[in-house]
């Protein structure tokens, strides 16, 4: 099996190294042979080639069985809204070119981290949400530009029935293997794309009579997520809403530094932390590598079907936390100094 390592930018580089080292250990332990290669993306790729997703990287991606990805981004572009070439273009192009239409973001709290969240433990306890974020459509990929002498900007959001149906089916099917509840999030009281979304989900529901379906408006969902996270099982939503809600939901898991995601579609899968490149903490050795480690676990499970191997990573993370070890983002005033780990050690 070929695994492509794409660290990207900022802390992406630090944490992906750790994620990879866990893959190496697991292969050793379970007697697998994984072949690794790596490639540039984002700001790192722009610096080297002028292109945030060089053809060479894309070719390696297509040839891989799975991709462990870090993060892309750089403050330089954020502060210059007029920049023509941007790291995120590479990320979006990768998603589109590889047909990664389904982004799975499991939000599950390790019991040991109950106290690490800003949300009350009694509200959180037992929360376990699986997000399906549509990843190759919506306002991310529609036409965008300027008009009226550069005085007006526009972005077009678009969804086809086909695009909604394939992500919704994945979510319905996942709900079957979980608690049988599906919440579809849209803004159907305002957006036409959301009305199509709702129509399609409603039309599919009779095919899954065992699944309890509800529809929530995105504003209300943003509120309920933190008011009562346990009411959610599987959530399916559009690209932009999924981006916002899953970052918000990261607080349910104590820290963004704990959350892994899988982007899958028709061919290879991409596994990555949901956090970004975080240049403010890059190079300090304090980034939490567990999101990348857990991304490696998702990779083994989803792309390779290696459930036992995947579970053993999750168990190791659990044990690490039980032993009281913490990176800074999940430490609190009760964590003894000698249990505060740096990025490498936590891996």
């Amino acid at each position: 099996k070929n695994i492509l390592i794409v660290p990207g930018d900022g802390i992406g580089q630090e944490v992906t190294e750790v994620g990879k080292s866990v893959l190496v250990k697991i292969a050793e332990k379970f007697g697998h042979e994984f072949i690794y290669d790596d490639a540039l993306m984002g700001h790192a790729a722009i610096e080297a080639t002028g292109n945030p997703l060089p053809d060479e990287t894309l070719a390696k991606m297509r040839a891989s069985d799975a991709i462990l990805f870090g993060a892309v981004g750089h403050p330089k572009y954020d502060n210059d809204p007029t920049a023509k070439v941007r790291p995120e273009q590479g990320l979006l192009k990768m998603r589109k070119e590889l047909g990664l239409y389904a982004n799975l973001r499991p939000i599950k709290l390790f019991d040991e981290l109950l106290g690490a969240s800003s949300i009350k433990p009694e509200i959180l306890k037992g929360s376990d949400i699986l997000f399906f974020r549509e990843l190759t459509g919506d306002i991310y990929f529609g036409e965008k530009g300027r008009k009226n002498d550069n005085n007006t900007a526009y972005d077009i959001a678009e969804y086809s029935r086909y695009e909604v149906e394939r992500i919704a089916r994945k979510a319905f099917e996942a709900a079957r293997t979980r608690r049988g509840k599906l919440c579809s999030v849209d803004k159907a009281n305002v957006l036409e794309t959301s009305r199509l979304w709702r129509e399609v989900v409603q039309a599919l529901a009779p095919e899954y009579p065992d699944i309890e379906v509800e529809h929530q408006f995105v504003d209300s969902a943003a509120m309920m997520l933190i008011k009562d996270p346990r009411r959610f099982d599987v959530v399916v939503t559009a690209n932009l809403f999924g981006d916002i809600l899953t970052d918000e939901a990261s607080q349910i898991a104590g820290s963004m530094g704990m959350l892994a995601s899988a982007s899958v579609g028709d061919s290879t899968g991409v596994y990555e932390p949901i956090h970004g490149s975080a240049h403010d903490i890059t190079g300090k050795g304090i980034a939490n590598p567990l999101a990348s480690v857990l991304s490696a676990a998702l990779l083994l499970d989803i792309s390779f079907g290696l459930k036992e191997e995947s579970d053993s990573i999750i168990a190791a993370v659990d044990q690490l936390l039980k032993d009281g070890f913490r990176t800074k983002d999940i430490a609190d005033s009760t964590t003894p100094a000698d249990k505060i780990l740096n990025t490498q050690a936590a891996g």
Copy 2:
């Protein structure tokens, strides 16, 4: 002064009655003469006239000095994404026709409700955020429709420099009267409208050298809002992001039932709870009327410049809470049964 009362649908009708009764009492107490009229909107107006914002209502709105509004919406339309006439069209049309481009949503926790939130009291204590949500542009008002034989839906998001500048200026000016911090929220790493947004805010910043400006991506802002709400003072953002973030932020205030908003622009102002029509609890007498009462307070302050009158309403709400009275949404297991109020009594 003319005040138009527009209860709308669902609990909008119950709570607006209470909001109005408070205006009546304040006028008595302070010796003002307010003239009231009322008008239909939303589902109620569709039932009566076929139109969610009848011309008569719009004419009365234009003639008013301020409007106390409830909420619109009905599950009937939510469950039928193909409905051509919808209550929300009335709301959006009102905002556009009256030029209500600035929606102010103050998120402030009454100390007494520190425990009512799902967020930890030590995270919340002292939070005080003022949102400026742009209200007449973005994906709410761009062209929308279907194509490809009804198989594709689209919505166009649009902003002009002028639209961004006028809301940003309001936010900068408000920051001056508060703690001097402005956070502009966008998704400039993906959206062209957001890049224009960021350009305009950046270009204005030198005119307000006393204001500390930061830019946050909406996903990150959704996370930080609940992780560390005290870092925010004034927040300015686009229509859709503002919709989502302010509902989320309602948890900072303990309950959505406590939050009032003001929509202002070039002429009359509209004051309304941020909650919706909530048909699930309509008619049960359990709706929290304090959002409407606090909307009345905003009305007196912003549209009529009656600061003392406004403050006396806020003080009365504070006293009610200090006396231990609660509606169901803000009650907890420690609230004695005889302190749980129904909608009317809470008013």
